[in-house]
C-alpha cells in the first residue's frame, strides 16, 4: 500500500524532472550545447508567467500560452546573437558563457523582483486530489506528468514528421553537409533554442505552481534535468522521460527507507546508469 503510493509519487515526480529536462535535452541533442543557464531560464519563465497572471488575472495555463511566444523570441535571439558565436570545436566557450548568463539572470531577477518567495496561484486546484485505486494522487502532479508525456510526444512528432524536424536532425548529424543542402545551421539552432524555451515555459508553469520560487532557485533544478538527460541518452526525448522517472522513483524509494537518502538515491541511480550504460539507456545512433 505505502509502496504503491511511493512508486506512484515517484513516477509523478519523474514527470516534473522530465519537463525540466526536455528543453535541455533538445538543445543538447541538436547542437551539443550544455546550457548551464537552463534552470535560471525556467525561473525567468516562471516570473514571466507570474507577471502575466498578476497583470491580467488570467488562468496560469493561458498566461503560460501568452509567455511562450515571448520566451521563444528570447531563446531565438539568445542563440542567434550570443550562443551561436560560442559554438565550435572547443566545448569550453558555451559552458563559460551560459555559466555567466546564469549569474546575470539570477541577479537581474533579484534586482527586478526582489528576493521574495513567489508562487503562481492555481486556486483550489493546488490541493485537489483524485483517488486512483489504492492511492490518492494530487491533480497538479498528475497534470504535470500528463503534460510531460504530451510535450515529449509533440516534440517527437516535430522531430520526425516536419521539415524543421528534418533540418534539426540533419544539422545535428552533420552541420557542414546540411548547409550544402541549403540549411542554415545558425537559423536552425536559433529555432531549436526558441522551441526549447517554449518547453521551458511549460516547465516554468509547473515549477511556479507546485512550490515557491525565487531568483536563486534555478541551479538546483539544473542538476536533475542534467541527470535525466544523461540517463536517457543523448538526443532521445523518450529517454529523457525515462531518465526523469528513474530519478523520481529512486528518490521516493530512497526516502521511504530513510528521508536522509532521498536526494542521494537519485544521484546514485544516475551513477549506476553511467557505470552500466555510459552512453545512457537509449542513445540515438552513433555519434
Amino acid at each position: 500500500m505505502i509502496w504503491v503510493d511511493t512508486l506512484v509519487q515517484g513516477i509523478l515526480l519523474g514527470g516534473l524532472y522530465a519537463l525540466f529536462a526536455a528543453g535541455l535535452s533538445l538543445v543538447f541533442g541538436i547542437m551539443r550545447l550544455v546550457n548551464l543557464a537552463h534552470g535560471d531560464l525556467i525561473v525567468l519563465g516562471a516570473y514571466l508567467i507570474l507577471v502575466v497572471v498578476s497583470a491580467t488575472g488570467m488562468n496560469p495555463i493561458f498566461a503560460a500560452a501568452v509567455a511562450a511566444p515571448v520566451m521563444f523570441a528570447i531563446g531565438w535571439t539568445l542563440q542567434k546573437v550570443v550562443l551561436n558565436r560560442t559554438l565550435g570545436e572547443d566545448i569550453l566557450p558555451p559552458l563559460l558563457v551560459t555559466f555567466g548568463l546564469s549569474i546575470v539572470l539570477q541577479n537581474a531577477l533579484l534586482e527586478g523582483f526582489s528576493a521574495d518567495s513567489q508562487r503562481i496561484g492555481f486556486g483550489a486546484l493546488e490541493t485537489a486530489s483524485v483517488p486512483l485505486g489504492p492511492v490518492t494522487v494530487g491533480v497538479l502532479p498528475l497534470m504535470t506528468f500528463g503534460t510531460a508525456v504530451l510535450t515529449i510526444l509533440v516534440l517527437n512528432q516535430i522531430f520526425y514528421r516536419t521539415a524543421i524536424g528534418r533540418a534539426f536532425r540533419a544539422t545535428s548529424d552533420d552541420a557542414t553537409t546540411a548547409s550544402l543542402m541549403g540549411i542554415r545551421p545558425a537559423r536552425v539552432f536559433a529555432t531549436a533554442t526558441g522551441l526549447a524555451m517554449v518547453v521551458v515555459t511549460i516547465a516554468a508553469l509547473y515549477l511556479g505552481t507546485r512550490a515557491n520560487f525565487d531568483p536563486s532557485i534555478g541551479p538546483a533544478r539544473l542538476i536533475y534535468a542534467f541527470e535525466a538527460v544523461i540517463i536517457g541518452g543523448l538526443g532521445s526525448l523518450w529517454g529523457t522521460l525515462a531518465g526523469g522517472i528513474i530519478i523520481g522513483v529512486a528518490q521516493t524509494l530512497g526516502a521511504a527507507i530513510n528521508p536522509e537518502w532521498q536526494i542521494l538515491a537519485g544521484h546514485l541511480a544516475f551513477l549506476i546508469v553511467l557505470l552500466v550504460r555510459p552512453r545512457g539507456l537509449f542513445p540515438r545512433g552513433k555519434d
Binding site: T6, S117, E126, S129, G138, L140, S216, I217, P259, E260
Partner: protein, 424 residues
C-alpha cells in the same frame, strides 16, 4: 534617550579624563566620524532578511546620534566566504572602529570570527545564539573546549526559547500529543533535532511522542515518505525548521494526500508574509515563533519611535509589509550608538568591547543587557537574550495575512491578540 548633547558630553568627559591621564585624544574630540562596518546578505537566497537595511540606515543617519557615525555597508551575497572577505576588507582597508552584522549564522559567524581574530569589536544579531556561539567554536562537539570571545557579542533568543514557545502554543489545544518533525540536514535542522539540546528531550519530558523521520536534504521535491510516516503515527502537530520552498511542497502535498494536522509550528519557512501568501488560503493558522512585531511594547532609543512606529514607517516608505528582522537591525544601530556614547576612544577595541559587555539599555526589541540572564555560564559574557513569543498567521478579509500573537507565557509583557486556533 541618547541625544547628540548627552552623547558628546559623555564622550568628551571620558575623553578629557583619558587625555588627562596621558592617553590618546578621543575620536569624537578630533571631529572625526566613528566608522562602523555593516555586513548583511543584500543579495542571494537570504536577501529578504536585508530588505529593510536602506530604510534603517537612512533613519539612523538622520538621528542626532547617527550624525557622529560613518556606516560602510557591505553585501555578503548570502555566501559565508564572501562575508568573511568583506569583513576583512572593512577591517583592513576601511579601518572601521566597530563591526555590525545581521542575519543567519551564514552571515554572522564568518564575520564575528574574522573580527575576533582581527581584534575588532563586533555586535551581531538575527541568529539563534547556539549556532552563533557553538558554531564558532573550534570543536563544537566538545563543550569542555568552548571558550568565550573577547570582541564578539550577540543578541537574540535561543533554541530553548523556541521549544518553550512551541510547546506552550500546543498546550492551548486538545491534541493526542503526537508530533511529527521536519528537520533538514543543515545547521538549524541538526540543532533542532539534536537529542541533547534540541526538541526530542523536552518533548519526551512533556509527554509528547515524536515522529522524526530523519534529516532530509533541502530543496526536496517530494515529501510522501514523511507524510506517510506522519499518517501512520496519527500525528496531530507538525513542527520543523524548513526553508520556504520545501514547506510549500510539503504542505501542498499533505493537503493533496488528505493530511491536515491540528497545529503546524514551523520555523524559518513562514517568517516572511510573502512566503505565507505563497501558500494561498492554506496558510491560515500556521504558527511560528515571533521575535518582534509592531505590537511589542518597546520604543527605539535612537528615534523615540515605538515598535509600531518603526514598522509603519517602513511600510509607508517602501509600500511593503513589515517583517521581523526590521526591529533587530534597527536595534543593532541602537546598541552601536549607545556603546560609542560610553567610550572615550572609539579606536580602542578593548575599551569598546568592555563597553559592549557593560550594555544595559532599552531598545525597540526589548531590554538588552549582556548580564548572562537565562544563559549557561559559557555564553554569559557574549550573548544577550531577547524575548520570544508565539504567533499564528491569520487570513485577512481583503487577502494577505496578519501575524497574530497567541502565546506570551515566555514574555508576558508582550500582549496577545487572540488565542491559539486549530487548523481545519
Amino acid at each position: 534617550m541618547l541625544t547628540r548633547r548627552s552623547f558628546l558630553k559623555t564622550s568628551a568627559a571620558t575623553g578629557a579624563s583619558l587625555a588627562a591621564s596621558g592617553l590618546a585624544a578621543p575620536a569624537i574630540a578630533q571631529g572625526a566620524k566613528i566608522k562602523l562596518g555593516y555586513v548583511s546578505p543584500q543579495s542571494g537566497p537570504l536577501a529578504a532578511f536585508a530588505e529593510a537595511d536602506q530604510y534603517i540606515l537612512d533613519a539612523f543617519s538622520g538621528t542626532e546620534a547617527g550624525a557622529n557615525f560613518e556606516v560602510i555597508v557591505k553585501d555578503s551575497q548570502s555566501n559565508p566566504n564572501r562575508a568573511a572577505d568583506v569583513a576583512r576588507e572593512l577591517i583592513i582597508d576601511d579601518e572601521i572602529d566597530m563591526m555590525l552584522v545581521a542575519s543567519t549564522p551564514e552571515t554572522t559567524n564568518p564575520v564575528a570570527s574574522t573580527c575576533e581574530f582581527e581584534e575588532v569589536p563586533v555586535i551581531s544579531t538575527v541568529a539563534p545564539w547556539q549556532p552563533w556561539f557553538i558554531g564558532q567554536q573550534g570543536n563544537p562537539g566538545d563543550p569542555e573546549s568552548w571558550e568565550e570571545f573577547y570582541y564578539a557579542f550577540h543578541f537574540f533568543w535561543g533554541l530553548e526559547d523556541v521549544i518553550s514557545v512551541f510547546t506552550n502554543m500546543w498546550g492551548q489545544l486538545e491534541t493526542n500529543k503526537s508530533v511529527g518533525a521536519l528537520f533538514p540536514n543543515d545547521g538549524d535542522g541538526n540543532a533542532w533535532g539534536d537529542p541533547v539540546v534540541g526538541f526530542p528531550p523536552v518533548l519526551a519530558d512533556q509527554g509528547y511522542t515524536l515522529t522524526d523521520t530523519g534529516r532530509y536534504q533541502n530543496l526536496t521535491d517530494d515529501f510522501s515518505a514523511q507524510i506517510n510516516a506522519f499518517k501512520q503515527a496519527q500525528v496531530e502537530i507538525v513542527t520543523g525548521v524548513v526553508i520556504p520552498p520545501d514547506f510549500t511542497t510539503f504542505w501542498t502535498q499533505a493537503k493533496q494526500q488528505g493530511f491536515t494536522p491540528k497545529a503546524a509550528s514551523i520555523g524559518k519557512a513562514i517568517l516572511f508574509p510573502q512566503a505565507v501568501e505563497a501558500l494561498g488560503d492554506t496558510g491560515h493558522n500556521l504558527s511560528s515563533e515571533v521575535w518582534w512585531s509592531p505590537s511589542h511594547p518597546f520604543t527605539s532609543s535612537l528615534t523615540g519611535q515605538t515598535a509600531g512606529g518603526v514598522a509603519s514607517g517602513f511600510e509607508a516608505a517602501t509600500g511593503r509589509q513589515w517583517t521581523q528582522p526590521i526591529g533587530f537591525v534597527h536595534a543593532l544601530f541602537e546598541v552601536a550608538a549607545n556603546v560609542m556614547g560610553r567610550v572615550g576612544d572609539a579606536g580602542d577595541p578593548d575599551a569598546v568591547a568592555e563597553a559592549i559587555a557593560a550594555t544595559r539599555m532599552d531598545t525597540v526589541v526589548g531590554p538588552l543587557s549582556w548580564d548572562g540572564a537565562g544563559l549557561p555560564p559559557f555564553a554569559q559574557r557574549n550573548v544577550a537574550k531577547t524575548p520570544l513569543v508565539g504567533g499564528q498567521w491569520r487570513l485577512k478579509d481583503g487577502g494577505g495575512y496578519d501575524l497574530v500573537i497567541v502565546d506570551n507565557q515566555t514574555a508576558p509583557m508582550v500582549p496577545t491578540a487572540g488565542a491559539m486556533e486549530e487548523i481545519v
